[in-house]
């Protein structure tokens, strides 16, 4: 680690090289599959081939005969221990192993536990399950239709497939707005089911010590503390006996927020057998059964005056939730934060109607780099605004500019009740347009259109606003647990520090970013600050990392606890300098007596004194813990411009240029921030162009492996040009807003808008994602082009 020589006055805005890299670069990371315990057994899961079927019988005897098989667990075994069902993070229930019926293809039916993984998989093939197939529901329209097969007949009194009906905004005011409108522009879209697919699948090693009663579960968890609480509730085991350790994660993107049946069965098996049990999911298991994303059907209308002023917005949304309502989201908001759908625009009235339905598919929904459905909201409004611009004959940039919430309007209360903290939307848009050369591109486009040689150029914009950093405890909770987050900071006698956090990195670089926050407050350089996360017994309680919340909550907690230590340090410094604390000044890493800059002590001197030479009556040590309840959400924003070239003859489209202006407030480590944005822009391209989980009418999942579920490779992924504006959050201690998800929220609309922009002259107004070349070609052909 290089020693920083120059005098540092701030650690914000510095691209410190990542502290976590060294182990990853040398193959010395510690991912779930790397964990091996003495006496460890291996578990494999038998999954249902049917999407909806009654289980008539399960014969496990032949599997039990396989040498090396230790146990075969079925739902019936779990019933005996009251573990056949478990709560979801939305307070619904989900089967651990199927008992009565299977309700999706890929549902967990039985588990084999064996001496090695190959044997466990061998034995799966010998389990004989007799199914009686039932009619299948593969979309929410079907689910809510009269006479639809009842999916959750396990729930007493449940007679239909509706999960929720939920509304936000003001219906009467919205109706009045529409009555005054000169123009009403509508759109009807499906944001299809996709999947976060971190490169590492899920897994666990459950280690129950029958002698001590201690339950140690190593698991791929973005939220280990919440998972421990849920484990305690599900199993009835005392919470203090459960330790969850989330090791290095090979990506998460929301996929590792829910609790999956595999974790629970492995733990139950370890409890029953008395040996550690390891379960590593395969890719098909991951794609077919774990937290998916989106699957929202959205239609709505925008009311406008002839001059382009937006007056009102109406949205209907129907959500395909799969067979359980398992969105990990704040309990008060049934459709997550979808009602932030007015986006970056000053729309005086809005009304949002949402419905959720059960289908024979995997549960989940909020996952994939998204703050509780803000991705769907952003996609909806950004697509609709472009369509409105075309119908009014305005440039899409111009219509946005006309309606942006203005800088002086912040804090701005939106029509559906969000209080936006800060923003300067026009500045971000102007910068993006300037960098991409918008005017020249429009000229080129006009020329190509005139030439009419089958070469189409499209320019797509998205000026998104996110709502992240959940969240204020009075409004936001998961299963009743308030969404604070925490930081514990200890400064050792030699002036080195350890920071323990309730959040959990999956690759975001927390070990570096959060060390920099400590450095910035205390002057202890990042290489002297170690950051620990993921171990429930070794970190303060926190809600975990998702919804771009780590820096808004855990980062704030870090800054606050460091400031608290600095206050104590100041009193110790006063004692050392024989001066009054009020007479001391702070420069990064050092207190000195006002007016006598030479008379000073460093933070390292103070740390040593905290254990060796304290003022009378002061407690020893320099450590503290802070639980931070954010006063508000944060509202990162940005403007993206995507330029595409389309061959009208084949429908093939290629990204020529991506310009992304992001404003996430203050950037702690710009290198890491840009890494997050580029990763998100790539996943956004994946959603827009290729990633799709779909089903045939029998409920067979299409998209259950990486040959069907396509991820962007280095060949499709374009070069990105990144720029920034900085509008600090007024309520965050260091002005940060969070950035992990900005690009997946903002970019899908920009990519699709670009394609539609090229096709609009032919009257093509929508192609649902993924916008594949064959869909483009068909759309053009249907209009007699190409």
């Amino acid at each position: 680690m290089a020693v920083v020589e120059e005098k540092v006055t701030t650690w914000l805005g510095r691209s410190v090289k990542r502290k976590e890299d060294d182990r990853f670069l040398q193959g010395r990371g510690n991912y779930i599959e790397d964990i091996k315990l003495p006496g460890m057994l291996y578990m494999a899961i038998l999954r249902s081939p049917h999407a909806h079927a009654r289980i008539l019988s399960i014969d496990t005897a032949p599997a039990m005969q396989v040498p090396g098989v230790v146990a075969v667990v079925t739902g019936a075994d779990l019933v005996a221990h009251k573990l056949a069902w478990m709560p979801t993070l939305s307070g619904d229930t989900q089967a651990v192993l199927a008992t009565d019926k299977v309700r999706l293809q890929g549902q967990e039916v039985a588990c084999v536990i064996a001496e090695d993984a190959y044997t466990a998989h061998d034995a799966l093939g010998l389990i004989d399950v007799d199914y009686e197939p039932l009619p299948v529901v593969t979309n929410p329209q079907q689910a809510l239709a009269e006479g639809a097969p009842l999916i959750r007949d396990d729930k007493e009194g449940k007679t239909d497939n509706r999960i929720y009906h939920w509304e936000a905004g003001d219906q009467a005011a919205t109706e009045r707005a529409f009555a005054q409108a000169d123009r009403v522009v509508s759109i009807d879209m499906h944001y299809p089911r996709c999947h976060p697919s971190p490169l590492e699948c899920c897994g666990c090693v459950a280690d129950v010590n029958p002698a001590s009663g201690m339950v140690t579960i190593y698991m791929t968890s973005q939220a280990p503390h919440v998972h421990r609480t849920v484990f305690a509730l599900v199993t009835g085991l005392p919470e203090q006996n459960i330790q969850i350790i989330s090791p290095d994660l090979g990506g998460g993107f929301g996929n590792k927020v829910p609790i999956y049946p595999g974790y629970v069965v492995a733990t139950a098996a370890s409890l029953l057998i008395g040996r550690p049990v390891k379960w590593i999911e395969d890719r098909t298991g991951n794609l077919i059964s774990t937290g998916f994303a989106r699957d929202f059907y959205m239609d709505g209308e925008l009311a406008l005056r002839q001059d382009g002023k937006m007056l009102g917005l109406r949205v209907n949304m129907l959500s395909d939730q799969g067979y359980a309502y398992a969105d990990a989201q704040p309990s008060k908001f049934k459709a997550g934060l979808f009602h932030v759908v007015t986006g970056s625009y000053d729309i005086p009235a809005a009304h949002v109607v949402t419905d959720g339905a059960y289908t024979n598919k995997a549960p989940g929904g909020v996952a994939y780099r998204c703050s509780f459905r803000v991705t769907e909201a952003s996609y909806f409004i950004e697509r609709l605004v472009q369509k409105a611009a075309y119908e009014l004959g305005l440039d899409p940039a111009e219509l946005r500019r006309l309606n942006f919430i203005q800088p002086e309007q912040f804090p701005y209360t939106s029509a559906t009740g969000f209080v936006y903290d800060s923003g300067d939307y026009e500045r971000a848009l102007d910068l993006a347009l300037e960098k991409v050369g918008y005017r020249e591109l429009r000229q080129e486009q006009a020329k190509l259109r005139q030439e009419g040689k089958g070469k189409l150029l499209g320019i797509g914009l998205a000026s998104f606003t996110e709502v992240v950093g959940a969240g204020p405890g009075r409004q936001f909770d998961i299963l009743g647990i308030r969404m604070f987050d925490s930081a514990e900071l200890r400064v050792h006698p030699t002036g080195k520090a350890i920071l323990k956090l309730g959040v959990k990195s999956q690759g975001q670089g927390h070990e570096t970013t959060f060390a920099q926050i400590v450095s910035n407050e205390l002057g202890i350089p990042p290489q002297d600050v170690i950051v620990q996360e993921g171990d429930t017994d070794n970190t303060p309680y926190g809600l975990g990392t998702y919804a771009s919340r780590s820096t808004p909550t855990g980062g704030a907690a870090t800054a606050v606890v460091a400031r608290e230590l600095r206050e104590k340090a100041k009193r110790i410094a006063a004692h050392l300098l024989e001066a009054a604390a009020e007479d001391l000044e702070w420069e990064l890493g050092r207190f000195f007596v006002r007016g006598t800059p030479d008379r000073g002590v460093t933070i390292q001197d103070v740390a040593f004194a905290a254990y060796t030479n304290l003022p009378e009556g002061m407690q020893a040590g320099l450590e503290g813990v802070h639980y931070y309840d954010p006063p508000n959400m944060t509202y990162p924003f940005g403007s993206y411009v995507v330029v595409v070239d389309i061959d009208a003859g084949t429908g093939q489209w290629k990204v020529r240029r991506v310009v992304a202006v992001d404003d996430c407030g203050v950037r702690i480590n710009p290198m890491i921030v840009e890494g997050q944005i580029m990763g998100g822009l790539t996943e956004g391209l994946g959603m827009a162009a290729m990633e799709l989980i779909t089903f045939d009418e029998e409920g067979n999942c299409i998209g259950s492996n990486f040959m069907d579920y396509l991820l962007p490779t280095s060949m499709e992924t374009p070069h990105f040009d990144l720029f920034e504006t900085v509008t600090p959050s007024p309520h965050h201690p260091i002005g940060c807003k969070g950035v992990g998800e900005s690009a997946t929220v903002g970019s899908p609309a920009a990519y699709v808008n670009a394609v539609i922009d090229a096709l609009a002259p032919y009257g093509i107004t929508n192609i649902d994602m993924p916008v594949t070349s064959d869909k483009v070609w068909e759309a053009l052909r249907s209009k007699g082009v190409g």
Binding site: L25, G125, L199, D248, G251, N705, S714
Partner: protein, 177 residues
């Protein structure tokens, strides 16, 4: 549903002794003939830097070099590598010095979660031996069999360019941190 499709045999699994030179060291073990190379490396030899990310030879997380050529070790039996030379991520650093590609990945932020990184680096190292000064297009083509879910590839390209430059300018490698 590949789990169900695995063939079950009543026969006891055949075993055989294999010998390989892994990261310069001769290694030998008696193994089931059906053992995949990736599991031989990870489970038998304890070299866990090689990862598994898919079931369909799609992701490249398992990439190692066999006789110098990058291959997907999830799609080869260990017995097929009998008598051959294998390099894994653990063998990239030499004599306590990081390989320029490893340095480049750190300098250019070419990794986030690190799961794809071993495979990416081995492919990149092989590319640079063949083509010390690759263009961006050549780098993108070389790594196109490896999926990275985190970085968006741009910084991986820069990392490889960094390594190319470093190798060409012949600077001394830095010590392993």
């Amino acid at each position: 549903m590949n789990e169900q499709a695995r063939p079950v045999s009543d026969e006891p699994q055949m075993r055989r002794r294999v010998e390989m030179v892994v990261n310069g060291r001769p290694r030998s073990a008696e193994i089931e003939t059906r053992l995949l190379l990736v599991h031989f490396l990870r489970e038998t030899l304890g070299l866990t830097g090689t990862h598994v990310g898919c079931d369909t030879t799609s992701c490249g997380a398992c990439t190692v070099r066999l006789q110098g050529t990058p291959i997907k070790s999830c799609t080869m039996f260990a017995v097929q590598a009998d008598g051959l030379e294998v390099t894994t991520v653990e063998g990239l650093a030499q004599g306590g010095k990081l390989h320029p590609v490893q340095e480049g990945f750190k300098e250019e932020h070419g990794l986030q979660c690190g799961f794809c990184t071993p495979g990416m680096m081995l492919v990149s190292a092989a590319l640079l031996e063949e083509n010390p000064n690759p263009t961006e297009a050549e780098i993108r083509f070389a790594i196109s069999g490896n999926i990275c879910r985190c970085t968006g590839y741009q910084n991986i390209v820069k990392a490889v360019q960094w390594a190319a430059q470093k190798t060409q300018s012949g600077q001394a490698a830095t010590t392993v941190a």
